[in-house]
């Protein structure tokens, strides 16, 4: 079953034993030899030459089942969803599979970059899914499921046919069809070693110039006015003591100074007074007693509910407001659904069972049943 990695390991040991090992004896009593079982439990990485890939296989068909049960709620039925993470599939062509370069990557106008457009090595896809997916329960897929899901994604991208069974025996063949397999370069000076024989000269050559260095500069890019408060009130994001204050971005910018800036500074003073007063007013505003709702919102975030459900909008699943409207007062029903998951009520994408405590699911259910107040 696990012949391949064992052979590779033996081979490695043979080769390396010819060379000089420097084992320090300076620190007696510190550390111990790892057991083979321990190494096997943790040494899960798969290299581009497939060192570390466990023997096994999985079909595209099986992959589709696993996908719809465990992956689609975040990534979309076709790996196309942009709701939670960047899309996985799309943007590659049959021609790309021939050339090994994704043509759309040369287009500045092409919207976004999917995983399959970028990744050059099929080992990376396998390793990624195996170590880190599903996002909320990483390392819970079986080896067969990892092969199957990897194969399903490759099928969605047109790299392997519908009846394909991906295995450790044909991964190298699949590698030859990866759409962006020739799309990486190490010809740059930003690797901190010589291991790639890469360039050592930086790619920009600015020089120290002190006088009349550039023509009169013009402002070419700035934030539009409507984005002024997009990051919250900046006056509350700067220290209140010091040589500067933060701008009160809840107000239109210095309406005072634009038209009639004068040299005696009176307009600046007015602007200052206004800004300061407004900032204080905002700070002094009594905090509304929303602590209970806040605790629920924190629970929703902690349990990653908000990844799929918006407070007042549909994301992958229905908005909390929609659920609240549909099931007023039904605490037990909702608590059960939260824990067990479900399918078909709100659309095609199922909600998986959630690893959440009884208490937390009750709190959330109660909040939903009482109208999901913000």
């Amino acid at each position: 079953m696990f012949k391949f990695p064992k052979i590779a390991l033996t081979l490695t040991l043979c080769l390396t034993s010819l060379t000089v090992f420097s084992q320090s004896t300076k620190y007696p009593g510190v550390g111990r030899d790892a057991t083979a079982k321990e190494v096997a439990a943790w040494d899960i990485d798969v290299r581009p030459d497939f060192k570390g890939l466990p023997a096994g296989s999985g079909s595209v068909a099986k992959g589709q089942d696993v996908w719809e049960a465990k992956c689609a709620q975040c990534h979309g039925i076709f790996g196309e969803s942009n709701e939670v993470f960047s899309p996985l599939i799309g943007g590659t062509t049959a021609q790309d599979i021939k050339t090994g370069r994704v043509a759309n990557l040369t287009r500045a106008d092409f919207p976004g970059r999917t995983t399959i457009m970028k990744v050059a090595t099929v080992s990376t896809l396998w390793d990624y899914i195996n170590r880190a997916m599903p996002w909320t329960n990483p390392k819970t897929l079986t080896t067969e499921e990892v092969y199957a899901v990897t194969g399903f994604l490759l099928n969605l991208a047109g790299i392997v046919p519908d009846d394909f069974v991906l295995s450790n025996k044909n991964m190298a063949e699949v590698q030859k069809r990866m759409p962006n397999r020739n799309g990486m370069t190490t010809a740059h000076a930003m690797w901190p070693g010589k291991e790639f024989g890469n360039a050592s000269k930086p790619d920009t050559q600015n020089v120290i110039c002190m006088k009349d260095c550039v023509p009169e500069p013009k402002v070419a890019s700035f934030l539009p006015d409507f984005a002024r408060n997009s990051h919250g009130n900046l006056s509350e994001q700067n220290r209140t003591v010091g040589q500067q204050k933060g701008a009160d971005t809840t107000r239109a910018e210095g309406s005072s100074t634009k038209s009639n800036a004068t040299s005696n500074g009176s307009t600046t003073a007015d602007a200052t007074a206004t800004a300061t007063a407004a900032a204080s007013a905002a700070a002094a505003k009594p905090a509304e007693s929303k602590s209970d709702n806040k605790a629920v919102l924190a629970l929703l975030s902690k349990n990653v509910c908000t990844t799929c459900h918006g407070i007042d909008k549909k994301i992958v699943g229905p908005g909390f407001n929609e659920i609240a409207k549909k099931y007023p007062g039904k605490v037990d029903y909702l608590a059960g659904k939260i824990k067990a998951g479900g399918a078909g009520v709100w659309g095609a994408i199922p909600m998986p069972a959630q690893n959440i405590s009884e208490t937390d699911s009750k709190i959330i259910a109660n909040w939903l049943a009482t109208g999901a107040p913000k």
Partner: protein
């Protein structure tokens, strides 16, 4: 009113308590509607109130800086002794782990709205606009998590060394902390810092443009010590894979040459205490000069190998798209960069006169050699003072005296490191790398100081 303005020096201040709390509310409402006459009237009326010597109730801290020559008597903050001068203060160990002053709550690490859909695969930015010196307070250190953070029991954490070694080893935290340790200051910067500004201005303040940057004193064991303990093949083992023990199990390829130099640390300490959970407690890799993603948190394993690993975060993410459609892979060094933190975007200068322009400079290739500052958008430059300490692959603080004449000014900083490399202008960077690289934007930053004193994030041509 006018005499206040002329006498008050640097900052034009409002007199204390010229508005009651209810007036303040009205100002806020009226101000929103643009009725500025109201504030003028209130301001004029305030002189009378101040002259009458109305006692301080609870002056908003922003006003407490007003420093006019008093029209009568003197500043009530001098004349009327405050409670803290006439009463008994609090006792020792009121708080077993002290916190910042309650007046400092504006300093928070913050998310950039709309950047990510989840908080577990996300970023929070350090408030560079309000920090001093070179050390980032551990609680304000920027965060980047791929699958959430954990607070791991150190008694259950293990560290494994395997691959091209004589014998694979397992160490406990106790054992790692028995080994000879070093403490070094280093910056950590996410490769995607300043990513949103590659094409144009996208965010308002230095917190969001440059805040995926922090600097700490890290304490730990040089990785080379641990590799030697396991008998690593340092000749053929050209690469080391570092792997995290959390859900994302971050994996990154580290060049052996950087490890044999002794620079790479297996660290447990940060600013005199243990690492914070958000920063990898109890164990993380420190790879000086290299982007933060390689500083693997919750470090559980290193593997010595003879080939690079093309891990998920070096073959799908953290690859730099070039105009020709190729991605630069294994681009890891954070090249020389600097930024002015005051005056910076979202701040307001309250009056003309003297200011201390201050900022940070750093290089993944060594020490900062010099920093120049321009206040005219890059035409003319003056050399800034580099404050001590100036350490290799750490943040360096620079300062420059500046008298603002009240006219628009575009402030930039330009750093040079000890290799002679000079931080590039946006045009130079884009000419080579285009605007879709996402990672490794180290261009010169511009801040526009407007006549009204408000500072904006801008890019110049």
């Amino acid at each position: 009113m006018k005499e206040h303005l002329n006498a008050s020096g640097r900052v034009i201040k409002a007199p204390e308590n010229f508005l009651t709390p209810s007036d303040v509310k009205t100002v806020f409402v009226e101000g929103k509607q643009g009725r500025r006459d109201f504030i003028r009237r209130a301001f004029t009326a305030a002189s009378t109130v101040t002259a009458a010597g109305v006692a301080a109730v609870s002056a908003p801290s922003a006003w407490a800086q007003g420093n006019p020559i008093p029209s009568e008597g003197g500043d009530p903050h001098i004349l009327n002794l405050p409670e803290h001068a006439t009463g008994l203060g609090q006792g020792v160990a009121t708080d077993g782990y002290g916190k910042p002053s309650k007046f400092e709550t504006n300093l928070q690490r913050r998310q950039s709205p709309g950047l990510t859909q989840t908080t577990q695969a996300s970023v929070s930015f350090a408030p560079l606009q309000s920090l001093f010196g070179i050390v980032t307070p551990s609680g304000l250190h920027f965060e980047r998590h791929h699958q959430g953070w954990w607070d791991i029991d150190p008694s259950k954490h293990r560290f494994m060394i395997n691959g091209m070694v004589k014998s694979a080893k397992v160490l406990t935290m106790d054992e790692i902390m028995r080994l000879p340790s070093v403490s070094r200051f280093h910056f950590i910067e996410c490769g995607a810092n300043t990513a949103v500004d590659w094409g144009n201005v996208a965010v308002p303040t230095v917190q969001y443009t440059h805040g995926m940057l922090s600097c700490s004193e890290f304490t730990g064991v040089p990785l080379i010590t641990l590799l030697e303990l396991a008998g690593a093949d340092l000749k053929n083992g050209k690469f080391v894979l570092a792997e995290g023990g959390d859900g994302s199990s971050m994996t990154r390829t580290i060049p052996m040459s950087l490890i044999t130099s002794g620079e790479v640390l297996v660290a447990y300490g940060q600013n005199g205490e243990m690492l914070r959970p958000e920063n990898g407690y109890p164990l993380r890799l420190v790879v000086p000069g290299v982007q933060g993603v390689s500083w693997v948190k919750y470090l559980r394993r290193v593997e010595v190998g003879d080939q690079p690993y093309a891990a998920k975060d070096e073959a799908i993410h953290y690859i730099d798209l070039q105009p020709n459609g190729l991605h630069r892979q294994y681009a890891s060094i954070q090249e020389c960069k600097s930024v002015v933190t005051t005056p910076s975007g979202g701040q307001v200068l309250l009056d003309k006169g003297f200011y201390n322009i201050t900022g940070l400079a750093w290089s993944g290739k060594g020490k900062i050699k010099r920093v120049d500052v321009s206040t005219d958008g890059g035409r003319n430059w003056r050399q800034a003072r580099l404050e001590t300490p100036v350490l290799s692959k750490a943040l360096s603080r620079f300062n420059l005296d500046w008298i603002w004449d009240g006219k628009p000014a575009i402030i930039q900083s330009r750093a040079q490191d000890e290799t002679g490399y000079v931080q590039p202008m946006y045009k130079q960077l884009r000419d080579v790398r285009g605007t879709r690289s996402i990672y490794h934007n180290n261009a010169i930053q511009s801040w526009l100081v407007q006549e009204n004193g408000e500072v904006k994030n801008v890019q110049v041509s």
